[in-house]
Every structure is written in structure tokens, then in C-alpha cells.
Symmetry: C2
Subunit: 272 residues, 2 copies
């Protein structure tokens, strides 16, 4: 596998761009091919079988793009599909859920860890099982927050309504005296300050996007896959694909990435 | 075509059940086959081409179930796909958008009509063009309300947060002095009282689900397709299909239909 091959990153839609942003920060000389499954978003309410099928299709597409490793940036796909696809494909595949869980275990002092995410992520119990595997004594308190994604996508990042919704969702977690909270959905870091405000400064927020990019960096070095070539311009280094209309994706991408995306290609993911 | 063949009704997910509820009320002796595309929900953010493709697949599936007429209960699909599928298929197909637009034109006194819906419905401009076709002097003021669907699906039907969100979305419409407002999304009738409260009693709310079931009744009579046979139990009269996990669908269905659904079948819609 060529060292200067790109990293494949995928998500159900735009949220995974927060992971891309972290990878760009942590390993700025790696090329990236991103796929956002905007035709089939959201994954959070879909079944495990469906998510595994979608993940297989996307990985086959990314393989065709010549990637050297894959990051599942979507929490739901990472929770439901990672064990299956790690067995089925030979290239290194990492996901946000395992990375986030590991850091939460390392961070907590009182052993009480909260997790917020979509219904799919929370119902999968995957964060909890990764945490328990590392620290059987940890207490895990999970809460699905289905309104956070649409609020972020409405651009209501710093908004009294978002704060009230956060208040509703997070009160139960506050009362459970957690000291660490995993933001188990890629959209959530964009309302981190609101979540922190509601939870209070005493609670550590874990951002799996950040942790995953650190793990990716380590993995590439260990496997001898780190890129050692010259870096190009963003236009050449980063390629973006979606499964449906690209306009809204572009607006969102340009609001969170450090440069403006010029072209986004639409592909028919059902073919893969 | 057999008179006692069922009506096919489809939607992107659970919302079309508000249309089913109205059909059950208006024409209680008609059998219904419902398909909810829960694997590919929501349609509101997807492109016209994708929505047409999905609609074709669903109509082919419903044809196989032997339906005598089809109701597109999804506003987005009704807006994007109805002209295309009416040309491609020979059976009668009606959609919520045309029915809703017609009644709004008949209802308004000052000629100022508001429309709320998902981004797909609003951006299609279809309600506006149907209204203009019937009354070129009508003023149409449209507003996308993307948070309403997730709020309804969270069960926040009578809630201060929903009221604040409604206040944000609807203020612009209020200031435009409309006297008629089309609830252009199947979920919205479930927060009708909140919408009415924000808009004030002077504004007539049009529920296309209701208007569509009246139009369907008329159509079946005109075409000689109305069922004249004995009615069965709900279990035999109504069949429900989804494209992904049925549990959440069942909970929602049982909260809005007049009887509890026992079985929901999952099918692979991609095959059609």
C-alpha cells in the first residue's frame, strides 16, 4: 500500500466533517477521501442490518478510491458495523466509538461516565460495552438526544432554544453525578459550549473526533503507512463525495472546515 | 380492477399515517396498504431525482400488492414526483400537495396564503405553482420548518419548546398578514393547536391529509372504484409495510391510529 494513498473517512452525512477537521489538524500531511451518505442520512434511527449493509457499500467505494485506511466517523455505523467490517476487509479500519470510550475510561476519576448520542448509538450499547471491557467497575449512564442533530443543522449553535433542549436532555445525567461525558455524535462538538454550560465546568467532555485522529496518527506510524511526501494544496489533498445533492453539504462543510470546498462529487452508492 | 382492492398509501416514514387516519374516517370501508420508507427517511432534504426514483420503486411494490389507486401521502414526494409517476403509471394517483393547494385557494379571503413544510417541499415551489395556476393573483408566502418533524417524533406535541420554535418560524408569516396557512407536511397536523396558537384564531389552517381523503372518496366514486363489499376487521383491512425496523413505527402508529397495529412487515424496497 502506497504511503501517500489517502485516508478514507465516512459518515451518514455532514457530521463526520468534524472528524475530518481534527485529522487535518493532527496529521496535516495526509490526503483524505470523504464520503457523506446524504441520500440515506440519518443512520441513527435505522437498524443494525441496514447500517452494516450501508457500511460495506461505502467501504467498497472507498477501496476503489485507493485508500490505505478507513475511519468510520459516524457513531452509529461505528457502533453497529465495525466488528463486522474489520473481519471482512483487510485494510485497517478504526471508528470513533472505541477511541472515545478508551479516553473516557482514562479520564474519569469517580468512575461515572455519561454518554449522549442518537437513538441508534445509545440503543446499541456499544459505548457502554467498550467502557465495561476496559473498566468493569465503571458506571455508564446513557441518554439519546435526537433533537441535537436537527438543531445543529439549523445553525442554532448558540441559542436559547438549544440550551433549553440541552437542559431537558442532560438534567438526568447531571443528577447522576458523572464527571466525564462522551459526545457520542459527530454533530455534538459544534454545540460543545452549550453542553458544557448545562453540565457545569466540573464535567470533562470527551470529543471522539479528536481522540480518533490521535489514534489514526499512531496507527499510521505503527503500520508504516504515514505519508512522507510533500503536501499539496487542499484542492488536491482532499476529495469529497456524497450520495445526494451537494449544495447543503457544501454550505455546512464551508462553515466548519478551514478552507472552502470547491467541488463535491455525487455518486450512486447503491451500485457498490 | 376489483372494487374491493385496497388503496395504496405511501410516505417517507410515519407521517403519512395522518393521511391514513383521515381516509379511515372519511371512507371507512376501503382497504389500505401502507408503505413507510423508514430506511430512507427523511425525503425533505433529498434531491428531486432521488425522490422520483424512490417513488417509482414504491409504486411498483404497491402495484404488486394489487392496489386500485395510490395516494402519495408524503408532501415532498407529492411535490417532486407526482407529474412524472402520473405519466408513467396507468392507475389513478393523487397527492397531498394538489388537494391542499386547491382548498387553500377556495378558503382564502384576502388572497394571502402561507405554506409551511420541509425544505424539499418548500424549495420545490410546487404548492405555490398549484396555487398560482388556480388563482394568479394569490400571494404565496412559504417557510421551511425543519425542526417540526423531529419535535413531533420526540413526542413534544404540547410543549413550550415547540411553541418557541413555532414562534421563530411563523413570525415572518404572521407579519405577512396571511389568512390561510397550509400545513404542508404530514407531521404538522399533530401540532396543529400549537401552530394555531402562534398564528392566532384569524388564520385558517389547511390540513392536506383531510382534503386528500375527500378527493380520494370523490375519485373512487367517479371512477366506479368505490368498495361495495362488507368491511372486515382492521387486522384484515389494513396492511402496513416498512423498509426498516418496525418497532418505532409501531409505537408512533399506535399513538395516532384508532386501533393498535399488530403486525408490520419489513421489505427490501431497493429490489423494486
Amino acid at each position: 500500500m502506497e504511503k501517500n494513498a489517502p485516508i478514507g473517512v465516512f459518515d451518514s452525512g455532514v457530521g463526520g466533517l468534524t472528524v475530518v477537521r481534527e485529522i487535518m489538524r493532527q496529521i496535516p500531511n495526509e490526503r483524505i477521501v470523504y464520503f457523506g451518505d446524504t441520500a440515506r442520512v440519518p443512520y441513527g434511527s435505522k437498524s443494525k442490518d441496514t447500517i452494516i449493509k450501508y457500511s460495506r457499500q461505502i467501504i467498497r467505494f472507498l477501496q476503489g478510491e485507493g485508500v490505505k485506511a478507513i475511519v468510520i466517523a459516524c457513531n452509529t455505523a461505528s457502533a453497529f458495523a465495525i466488528d463486522t467490517v474489520q473481519k471482512e476487509f483487510s485494510m485497517p479500519i478504526i471508528g470513533v466509538v472505541k477511541s472515545g470510550a478508551k479516553v473516557a475510561v482514562d479520564t474519569t476519576k469517580n468512575g461515572r461516565i455519561g454518554i449522549i448520542g442518537t437513538e441508534g448509538t445509545i440503543n446499541s450499547g456499544m459505548y457502554a460495552s467498550f467502557i465495561k471491557a476496559q473498566n468493569p467497575n465503571a458506571e455508564v449512564i446513557a441518554k439519546a438526544c435526537p433533537l441535537f442533530v436537527p438543531l445543529v443543522e439549523e445553525g442554532m449553535l448558540d441559542d436559547t432554544i438549544t440550551e433549553q433542549v440541552a437542559g431537558r436532555y442532560l438534567t438526568a445525567l447531571k443528577n447522576e453525578n458523572i464527571d466525564t461525558l462522551i459526545m457520542g455524535c459527530t454533530h455534538y462538538p459544534l454545540i460543545k459550549s452549550t453542553i458544557q454550560k448545562v453540565m457545569g465546568e466540573g464535567v470533562n467532555l470527551v470529543n471522539p473526533a479528536y481522540e480518533t485522529s490521535i489514534e489514526l496518527k499512531r496507527l499510521l506510524e505503527t503500520e508504516g503507512l504515514a505519508n512522507v511526501c510533500e503536501v499539496d494544496s487542499p484542492t488536491l489533498m482532499y476529495r469529497f463525495y456524497v450520495s445526494d445533492a451537494a449544495e447543503k453539504f457544501k454550505d455546512f462543510a464551508n462553515s466548519i472546515l478551514p478552507f472552502d470546498i470547491k467541488t463535491i462529487e455525487q455518486i450512486n452508492i447503491e451500485k457498490y
